[in-house]
Symmetry: C2
Subunit: 101 residues, 2 copies
């Protein structure tokens, strides 16, 4: 059941790629934000199952946005977090609490 970021990005493209292209980036961003709102509600007041579903939806719409913007998420997170915290380059992060609480 292991899935890489690239595989998930490909899966979402296979399911929704055609519709995503029609909708465009602005419309996709609004759907993404709707799901972010639902996640906030689930975090405040949802069951574990509801939270899991809303996390999956936010991630799917974030991946959809990345597909629309031509971004390879796996490469992006590797570049930013592959060497530990991008601020202090340590794992665990030793950045000042005022900067990165």
């Amino acid at each position: 059941m292991s899935i890489t970021l690239t595989q998930f990005q490909q899966l979402i493209r296979a399911i929704y790629g055609a519709k995503d292209q029609r909708r465009g980036l602005e419309g996709t961003f609004m759907w993404f934000m709707e799901e972010v709102g639902e996640l906030a509600a689930a975090l405040r007041n949802g069951s574990a199952d509801e939270r899991a579903t809303e996390f999956a939806d936010v991630l799917a719409w974030l991946v959809t946005l990345a597909n629309g913007a031509g971004i390879d998420l796996e490469a992006a997170v590797h570049a930013k977090y592959g060497m530990g915290c991008p601020g202090c380059r340590q794992t665990p992060c030793t950045c000042n609490l005022a900067e990165k609480p």
Copy 2:
């Protein structure tokens, strides 16, 4: 350079787990939203590198939220999207455009 969702969730926990526990879910949600705002700005008006960085940050904070909420993201997306579109169960999605444009 392949990374699974579970590995990325573990990486973020290793870098930021201690700080995340101190900050709590509400504080983490505010950081997540700050990064969502930066992503919106990069999508409107950023370079490819800036967009990639902001996608990485939003994903990292989403994963941080999932860590705080005790959600296994890989299991969550598998449950929701592993069989294709959760609406029509097809790949590609054949849901009505009014429902899922």
